[in-house]
């Protein structure tokens, strides 16, 4: 189970995409006091758009991070190169929880319909998206099933 929060920025820069992404990732990690591996930064040079996604094992820390990013002074205290100018920033609008579920459905008839039923049942609180049904080799190495996709 992972929690993510995404926001965006519009930047002006002549630096390469790799430089922009690395600089922003490092600056965010430093200012938010989080590990760089928990931040993904994607820069689209054609539009100047930066999408940043922060991952955490809990929702509460991401709510706090969202409030920090939302603060007026956040952009001004970011330690980024002078040749990256942040025109605007949109802080994360919410925290998303993501749960990946795998089911040994070897004995389940019409798997897609069953997933649709689950989606309808959870509809008030959750969104369910099928990631496909896979032929697998099942090897029992203990109490938990191990799925090897082929």
């Amino acid at each position: 189970m992972t929690y993510t929060a995404s926001g965006s920025m519009i930047v002006s820069t002549g630096l390469s995409s790799d430089m922009v992404e690395a600089s922003i990732e490092e600056a965010f990690a430093k200012e938010l006091n989080i590990h760089p591996s928990t931040i993904e930064v994607l820069y689209d040079a054609s539009s100047g758009t930066v999408i940043f996604t922060i991952t955490s094992e809990d929702a509460e820390s991401l709510v706090d991070i969202g409030e920090t990013i939302d603060a007026d002074e956040f952009v001004s205290i970011l330690d980024i190169p002078d040749d990256i100018v942040i025109e605007s920033i949109t802080s994360p609008s919410g925290v998303i929880v993501n749960i990946d579920v795998s089911v040994d459905a070897s004995d389940v008839d019409d798997v897609d319909s069953r997933i649709s039923d689950i989606s309808n049942a959870l509809d008030d609180e959750y969104t369910v998206e099928s990631e496909g049904n896979f032929l697998s080799i099942l090897i029992s190495l203990g109490p938990q099933p191990y799925f090897y996709f082929v």
């Binding site: 189970m1 992972t2 929690y3 094992e57 809990d58 929702a59 509460e60 709510v63 919410g94 925290v95 998303i96 929880v97 993501n98 749960i99 990946d100 579920v101 795998s102 089911v103 040994d104 459905a105 070897s106 004995d107 389940v108 798997v111 069953r114 997933i115 039923d117 689950i118 049942a121 959870l122 609180e125 959750y126 969104t127 369910v128 998206e129 099928s130 990631e131 496909g132 049904n133 896979f134 032929l135 697998s136 080799i137 099942l138 090897i139 109490p143 938990q144 099933p145 799925f147 996709f149 082929v150």
Partner: protein, 46 residues
Amino acid sequence: MTGIVASFEVTAIVTKSLKEEEVDDITEEVIRRMNVTEDDIETSGT
């Protein structure tokens, strides 16, 4: 032994971390709708 694995992603917008009971509710819904056992289900990070 070969079989079919159904894989899907459950998402929601939250303000607090999910409680164990909430994750259990999802698991129970899967068990009920797919007629499988808890041992047939693998849930990420729980």
